[in-house]
Subunit: 324 residues, 2 copies
């Protein structure tokens, strides 16, 4: 059982990471208005958020710049147009996917960039490439974290080996990523303990990025928090692909460090998130996402079902289970 | 940490209690069609649900029968019109509120009724009346459970005394009730351990009735399940007052007893629950319910906000915090 005192107090090492533009960008192809992004930045500062992820550093040779908003690419100049010199306590993050980022060229030295943290996303079979990206970004002066995605479909033994390989790199934190929203809190405890053990061995931190397919994103995030996980990803009203993420309003409400402030978060949701939903931008828990979470599958079939406006849930369930 | 084997296996003592008509009835004033109720009953049988709660045994001298559907009152004849002699494994439950039920007259002997279980709902300050109702129902031949509501605003010492008083009655189970949806899973573990200790002393079972104000209803329910709590309340798509309850589709998906079957649950949701939502019947998580959950308040202000179609979240938050 977790210590009661830990729930009333707070741990200074905890970092709240706002991933709204990055994971939320997967919902609207990164077409956020400049006003939205600027207000989100100012809100995060007021709310005491520790990191704001602006989007991906996607390779423009692989992705058509005319088909996505600018936060798919996160050019330094575009970030700087929002944050200036960012003379604040809020740090700036971007995500670089293995195989989808021309990192040697597109990630410039930290001294020339407003970015503080490069978050490297990898699958279990591309760890060596992730390590090359970590070493590149760290050598350029950035903080780095690494997301091993879709771990619910990976072997525990492989994850242990991967963490050990990553422990020997300059990476600052290993992220637990429940890509399919399929992990239950009591399983998450076991995963967190496994990550924490390797992290402690190598002097690293651990993070959690949860999905809400089973309405467990917040529960899993605070479960991890109770296990010593420090980097906590969340988004405004859970905005993110499919069932979305941990709600930042729930997380800020839960944490007790007096620097966190819920009020600006509420204001931003009233003025920017809820109007966007009313315009028809759709994300969040629904039964189709429960199916893919429960069955530990990629959410693609559920996302397609949602986009097509289908209502035949039973038929979707049949389609998913008959894929095997 | 919970035993890994418990998550893969199953415990025969677990009972799934469908509270859709009762807690969901608070959303539509109990105006369910006979077809809906009949199909729900048949679905619960196919799904392996253990108990189906039909509604309240409300006192017709206190509540106008013209202002509520019949499941506010649950006359034995109305239940029998749906279930006949109920020659199935599904047991029938009703709820009786302290102070709102003319139990001496309206609850007839079990031999004359299709009801199996009388669920007595009480606040911490009306335990003696609850005990009288338990003894009355038990003497008439019913199983009984007792819900101590709103425990997040009660003193732990008082709850301990109440459980000890209830332990000496014929009641079958004590229910943990998170009326305001304000309890976090790691707190729920401590609450469950406290209830389990008294229950084990007196040979009773423990149940959990959760609310989804912080999107923790399912997480809290399975947390309790992992602590040895056996009676698990849930409703179809979480239908229930305000933020609603634990989703039965999530719970049935989680449990591993082969008698539980998700497929009829999906069919019922597609054919009866989702169409009801599209007609404008509203429940479930929204940010106004996060406020009351986070602040440990009755959901009334959030329900009124929802009914009025208000969108001024920040103002609502001010109203709630300035109530003190």
């Amino acid at each position: 059982m977790k210590e009661r005192s830990n729930l009333l107090g707070w741990r200074p090492d905890i970092k709240v990471v706002d991933a709204t533009l990055r994971d939320g960008g997967l919902v609207n192809d990164f077409y956020f208005t400049d006003e939205f992004v600027k207000k989100l930045y100012l809100t995060n500062i007021k709310a005491g958020v520790d990191y704001m992820e602006f989007g991906y550093k996607a390779n423009k040779e692989l992705f058509d710049v005319n088909k996505f908003g600018k936060w798919k690419f996160c050019d330094d100049e575009d970030i700087r147009a929002i944050v200036g010199d960012n003379d604040t306590d809020l740090k700036i993050a971007v995500m670089a996917d293995v195989g989808r980022c021309n990192y040697k060229e597109d990630i410039r030295p930290k001294s020339e960039s407003p970015v503080d943290l490069v978050r490297i996303a990898t699958y279990i079979h591309t760890i060596p490439q992730a390590i090359d990206m970590i070493e590149d970004a760290a050598a350029k002066g950035y903080e780095t974290t690494v997301n091993i995605m879709a771990i619910s479909q990976a072997q525990e033994g492989d994850i242990a080996v991967a963490l050990d390989m990553l422990g020997k790199t300059p990476v600052n934190a290993f992220y637990i990523v429940d890509s399919y929203g399929s992990i239950y809190p009591e399983e998450m405890t076991r995963v967190a303990d496994m990550y924490m053990e390797v992290a402690n061995k190598y002097g690293k931190k651990v993070g959690i990025h949860a999905h809400n397919n089973q309405q467990l994103a917040f529960a899993n995030t605070i479960e991890c928090c109770g296990c010593g996980v420090d980097y906590l990803d969340a988004t405004y009203s859970g905005m993110g692909r499919g069932a979305g993420n941990c709600y930042i309003e729930s997380l800020i409400g839960f944490l007790h460090n007096p620097k966190y402030n819920l009020y600006p978060v509420i204001q931003f949701i009233e003025n920017y998130i809820n109007p966007m939903k009313e315009e028809g931008i759709t994300w969040g828990y629904d039964m189709q996402y429960l199916f893919t979470g429960l069955l530990n599958r990629h959410p693609k079939s559920a996302i397609d079902y949602t986009k097509a406006g289908r209502k035949d849930l039973t038929e979707l369930y049949n389609e998913i289970i008959l894929m095997d």
